[in-house]
Every structure is written in C-alpha cells, then in structure tokens.
Assembly symmetry: C2
Homo-oligomer: 461 residues x 2
C-alpha cells in the first residue's frame, strides 16, 4: 500500500496543514534553489544543454524560463536546464538524514509547470513542493545507505518520483492517476556516483525533473502503470536497494516532516568536506591575525570520517567540477583564500600553481569515530607554529545552520554575479515572498535576466 | 577500457564490414520493427503519449513521423511514441541469448534522427543500427540473468545505451564524445519488470530511445560525462547487476555478431509462452480434423520451464496487455481460435465468456529439465480423447525461425489492419528495401498513413 499511501497523502495535503517551520523551510529551500539555478547558469553544462537541445524542437520558444538567462522554452527543456543549473555548483541543499538534495528535481519541475499552467498560487506551489520533497526524502531514508553504497545518486533516483508527486498534485490528478504517475516515474532510475565531478552529475537532477513532469502528464492523460510501483516485488524499492522499508517510512508522512531537516550548503562542493573546510578557513583567519604567511605552510592535515575519502580522495582534480570532490583542493583554497565560494572552484583556480603546490601538502586520515559533519584539522608552518581546530558540527549542518541572513547573502552573491546587484535584489524579493504570490508562473518577470549565454561567460565552452 | 572499446569499435564499423547474414538480419529486424510500430499504434499507449505530450510543446510540428499515423513531430517525441508502439503488442524481436528485444530502442531513435538529419543513406542507417544492437546485446549477455532476476527490464536498461551508440555513430561523434554519450545514457536505467502487463512496459522502450538521442546530442555539443561509464566502480555494470563481465563480452565485438541470434515473435505476447502456444495451436488443428469440439475440452495442461510461471502465472488478466503475460489466456485463445495474433489479445477477447471459461481449465506445471523454448502440452476432451504434443523448439526460436515469407505475412497482417492492404504492401516494399535507399528519412513518404488516432480505434481510450 506504500504507493497508494504516498499518493493519497499528497493529494490530501493542504497549505493549512503545513506548520510554520515547514513553510519557512520550504520558502528558504525554494529561494536557495533559485539562487543556485541563476548562479549555476554561468557554468557550462546548463548552457550546453540548452544549445544542444534547442535545435531538436521545430520552433523553439515557449512559456517557461531558463533562470539566469532570458530564454523562454518548452516546459520539459526548462525543467531539465534549470535542474542542471541548480545542482552544477554543488551548492544547493541537503536533507540531514540522507545525502538527498531535495529541492532541485522538485522545484525545477514545479516552476516550469507553474509557468505553463499559470496561474498557480504561492500556497499551492509551496504545498506541492512540500509533497514532492517529503516523497523524495522518505524514499531516501527507506533505502539509505545501502542504495547509495551500491552507487546510485540518491538525489535523482528519488527525485523523479518526488517531481512526479509534486507536479501530479499541481495538475490535480486523481488518486489512481497519481499512483500511475509514481509508477511511470519509478521505472526511470537516474543517476550514478561514477559521474560525480562531471557535467553528468547535475544532468541527473534535470533529467529527474523532466521525468517527473512527463510521468505526471502521461498519467493525467490516461497512460497506465502498475498501482504499486514503489513496493511491488519487481518494483522500485526492491530493485534499487538491498534493504528497504518504504512502507514503514511512508507511514510517517505528515507526522515527521523531512523538510524541517533540510540544510543549506555554505560551500559549493560535496557537503562531506564542509567540516574540514570550515576548520581550515578558521585556521586561515588565525594565521592572518598572527601574521603567519600561507606560503610558509609545511603541511595541512585533517582527520575525518572514512566517507570523506570514499567520495573525495582526488589528489589531482582537472576541472572546477572535479575539484568539488577533492578534499585536497578544498583544503588549499580554504587556506589560501579564507573562503570557499564558486570563485574557488573554477577551472582556472584548479590550475593555479599556488593552489596546486598547497594541495600537495594536504593529507587526510580517516577515523570511524569522527562523525560525518566533524573534522580535526591542523596546519604546521615553516617556523614550527602549529594551529589546530576541532569542528564538531560543520557550518551548514542541522546543529549549525546558515542563518536567514547568511542564506540571503549566499543568494545575492551567486545571483549578482550573473544578473547584477539590482536584479539580484529583485529576484530575492520575489522568491522569498513566493507565499504571497497569486501567480508563481510570473515570478521570472519580477526581475530582468541578462541574455548572457554560457559562451560569453566561459572562454572554453 | 570497456566504454572506450565499445565506442571505438562502433565508430570504426563500416557497412562493408558487415557479412551477408548480418545485413540480412538487420533488414529483417528493421522491417519487423516497423510492422510492429505501425500495427502497435492502434493500441492506446502510443496515442495517449502523443496526445499527452503534444500540448507541452509550443508549436507542435516537426520533421519526424509517428508510424501508423500521419503526425509529424519533433525528434524526441517521435522516438518515444514509435518506441512505445513498436513494443506495445509484445510482438517484436528477441535476442536468443538474453530476453533483450533489440530493435525497439535503436530503430525508434535512429529513424527519428534520420528524418531530422536527412539525408542518411540505407547503408549508413543499417551500420548504425547494427552498432546499437551489438551494444545492447553484448551488455545484456554481460549482466544476464542476474540483472534480469533483480527485476530490471533488460531491453530498455541496455536500450538507452544502444540507442546512444547508434545515434552517436549516425551523427559522427568523435571517440571521446561517444564515450561521453555512453556515459550520459548509462546513468538512465529505465525499466522494471513490475510494469509488465501495463502501458509502462512499452514506455520503457520509447524512453530508452529518447534517452539515447538526448545523450548523443548532448555529447555532440560538448556535454561531458565520465569516460568509463560502463565499467567504472560506481558505473553501469556494477550498479545494475550482481554479476557482470562487460569487458570480456565487449572484446568479442565484430567477431561474434549478436544480431545473427535475433529472433522474431510469431505471437504477440511474452516469448516464454510461445512453445506452449505453438503446441496448443497444433492440438487445435488436430481437434478440428478429428471433429472434436473445443467446447468439449475437459482440461488443458502444459509442462514448461519454471521461468514461464515466474513471468506469466496470471489466472485473471484484466486487459489485453495484461493477457500477454498470462499463460492461461494464451492457452485458451490458442485452443479456441487456432491462432494467437493481436486480435486474440484485445480487451474484448480477455472478457469473452468462452475464453474465461476455457482459461479456468488450463493448468501449468514447471520442470527444470524442460528448456525455455520447449513445452509438453496436452488436452483432454469430454469423450476421453487425449491429444498430446511435445514442442522441442518453439516457432520463432533460433532452431525454428520464422521464414522470410512468414515475416512478410506478419508485417502485412499488422500493418494492413492500421493503414490498409495497399499501403501495407508499399510500406513493406520500402522497409525491406532500406539497404538501397539514399535517404532513409523519406521512407515514411513511400506509403500513405491514415490519420486515424487511437481514439477512433478504441472505444474506451
């Protein structure tokens, strides 16, 4: 009954059922997603995808915005490209109990659909968003960590189902239709860990959004599937994981809100290295105060959870995307720049000789007793000075979340780089006030987006 | 090196490398696919998909044909809908060493792309088709049966990669681009066995075709992926199966041609019940000769391989699609009608009281020593007469293939029902002569397709 339970719960959900912490977190999640999407459009993958797929359509125009550009395209292309852009910087959000980045697949699908099926009110948009996020995260908990350990990218493998639930709710599917939509989405299992560090990682998110839209629209029009796509003997949960308790997890829908456990990344890279970065930035700041020169660093170390090396043991990253999965690159830029923003994860910085030199002095050891959000970092200088920091909870974790002010700063920094300060402020105002809108589909008209394509932003496309 | 090996082999493949048995089988595979697609358009799923997705595009027209209708759409929609139609009847082809139905994903992607990128010559089309089919089937062998036993629909899970290889070759990708295309396709694992008997089974095939096109076009435009998508630690082969030997299987590319092991279905249903159907039809014919009445059947039995009950132990099918996975329905219609064509797998026949009554008299036992293409069937009549048949190799198996004449008949029967006898003959002429065409993209203009939508063909959409 898991599929039916999810579908019936999602359809019954009303904006008035949402508690204040739920709606607050939903709004933050949505504007954090929008900031990532607008900022992420500056990187190659989103623009390449848009330019590649546009000629496949007979006449390429539509109602749906590509955030960060002024392109208007069809709903499926918009969902794909915004999904790619929102995840390319690895700067989005993370569910605390799993590595699911929940907003990307759901918001990318929903915004495009809200533009096509205007008017969709803010409360309806938020309610559908919450339904989709709960679906993704409950499914994530039901199969984590076994599913992730096999090699699946859990964000997109749960994301196509979350997007189908959200869009299905927005379109007003009936119960059986939504079960069919979940079934159609569930047979499209998108995303593997091997592609981390490449353009294909953010593709997972965009494709999950696209698949969710397609599944919901097909089901709305009478396309059939199995009614028990999640729990069937040869259905989603059994096929994608060696362990699952989908039925149990979905029984907590509406009583335990997964979205309240959403967290936001302070650094645009794999969240597993955030604790170490946090510590190394603190050491940078101490060194500056003490008049120590970064060039005089003899060695830098971190003691971290073993998963850090499993995911980011990359001594020689080749590109900015690759460097998002290199704990050594992260250490070098945190110590040199005293920050880790998108500017520290460009192809140029990856090739910078000072960064490469310091990267080679970073060493990392793993210890099971260190938690995933914890790090012990130390730096030794040529004069023998040793600075040490214990980060118990990484900045951005549930225990030490970004404040609303920090989230706003993060948004403005990303978005200003793409569309300028004034328009960034207008965009923040629009997305952070989404609950009050009567027509979310018009949100992109509240600010002007420059028609800069990725080719203008990147010398080598 | 598996991904690189596949990509470099596919790019180097020339029409002149293909032996006569390979090209002969390729042409048969293509026209058998086209017949299934044109005939299959009469069933609801293809038409529903077309009607559902058309309004998502700003201006719905294009260069690419929906076979069986006169609709022209964009390349991705055409690949999806033709893929659905070609598999909906479960009447297509099957690789003898795996349950892969190879033509659907590859031909559906290629024909749409050949129409968009006209002119593509017959030899180029066939060469790309063979490259895609070899990719699918080698990958299938490398993970079968473990991958299938988990619950994956091996046709589409290998199909998106096969389609990417075929389209990538057609578009002239370079080696790294084709490796990237394989990577992008490999992270989209489409199709689970739980959806057998529903509209979502043929959706798998269409979506695989669509994903292959998208992957190839993205890679052509510079979208990146991992270069070792198939063999990487967290890549396709390891993630989707508990056993794999992709590297070994791909080492036989060009020396062992999988396409020569392709077989064609004589009956539009799961191939695992073809041996039993073959036997029951023979009993029907004997009974007619002996003057025995089908209404006097006391019981009908079959002793078959255990996989038959694993896939088709469905005593009470509800729809025509569902009945394609019911050995009991198959027995009833084979005995009553003396044939098993699409006309025996309609929703109406499933609800026919004589069929239901005889279905309840069919019983099946499983025995490991009976091969997958073998069956011992028997029927007992009210007067005590017992007729027995041992089918050692089912009609349509490698050992007892359909003749060229039977394949032509199968094509004409399916296609005439949709576009009439005269146009069916023209369509057969076009597809069976595809090797001589200078522009395969114009093949659909060689015959006139009626603009009948599924709603006109089906009373209840």
């Amino acid at each position: 009954m898991a599929t039916k339970k999810l579908a019936s719960w999602a359809l019954a959900l009303q904006f008035s059922n949402l508690t204040q912490p739920v709606t607050d977190m939903a709004v933050k999640s949505i504007y954090n997603w929008a900031g990532c999407a607008i900022g992420g459009y500056a990187l190659p993958p989103a623009g390449i995808a848009l330019e590649a797929l546009s000629p496949l359509l007979p006449q390429h125009s539509g109602n749906c915005s590509i955030l960060g550009s002024d392109a208007l395209v069809d709903v499926q292309t918009a969902a794909l490209v915004n999904g790619i852009a929102s995840h390319v910087d690895d700067y989005d959000d993370t569910h605390a109990d799993t590595p699911v980045h929940p907003s990307g697949p759901v918001a990318s699908a929903l915004l495009a659909m809200a533009e096509l099926r205007s008017p969709v009110s803010g409360p309806d948009f938020i309610t559908a968003f919450v339904a989709g996020v709960e679906a993704e995260c409950k499914l994530g908990v039901a199969v984590y960590p076994e599913h992730y350990d096999i090699g699946w990218h859990i964000t997109s493998t749960t994301g196509s189902i979350g997007a189908a639930v959200a869009v299905g709710k927005l379109l007003g599917l009936d119960l059986e239709q939504l079960q069919h939509a979940i079934g159609i989405a569930s047979v499209q299992v998108i995303g593997m860990r091997d592609s981390f560090g490449t353009d294909t990682k953010p593709f997972h998110v965009g494709r999950a959004a696209q698949s969710g839209i397609q599944a919901a629209v097909l089901a709305q029009n009478g396309y059939g599937s199995m009614l028990e796509g999640l729990e069937g003997e040869y259905g989603w949960a059994h096929v994608v994981s060696t362990r699952q308790n989908v039925t149990k997890e979905l029984s907590t829908l509406g009583s335990i809100w997964e979205i309240t456990k959403n967290t936001f990344k302070p650094f645009p890279c794999d969240r597993i290295i955030h604790a170490a970065i946090d510590g190394w930035i603190q050491i940078h700041d101490q060194a500056v105060k003490k008049g120590l020169r970064i060039a005089d660093i003899k060695n830098a170390t971190a003691r971290v959870n073993p998963i850090v090396l499993s995911l980011t043991d990359n001594h020689d990253p080749k590109t900015g995307l690759d460097a998002k999965f290199s704990v050594y690159h992260a250490g070098a830029v945190a110590l040199i720049y005293g920050e880790a923003t998108p500017a520290q994860f460009t192809d140029e910085v990856v090739k910078d000789s000072a960064v490469i030199s310091l990267r080679d002095k970073v060493s990392v050891t793993a210890a099971k007793e260190v938690s995933e959000h914890e790090a012990f970092v130390a730096v030794e200088f040529a004069n023998g000075t040793k600075l040490e920091i214990h980060v118990e909870h990484a900045l951005g974790s549930v225990e030490k979340p970004l404040s609303a002010e920090q989230l706003k700063e993060k948004f403005l920094e990303q978005v200003s780089a793409q569309i300028g300060d004034k328009q960034a402020a207008a965009a923040f105002s629009a997305f952070s006030q989404i609950a009050n809108m009567t027509d979310v589909g018009k949100i992109a008209r509240k600010f002007k987006q420059h028609p800069r394509l990725y080719k203008e932003l990147n010398s080598s496309p």
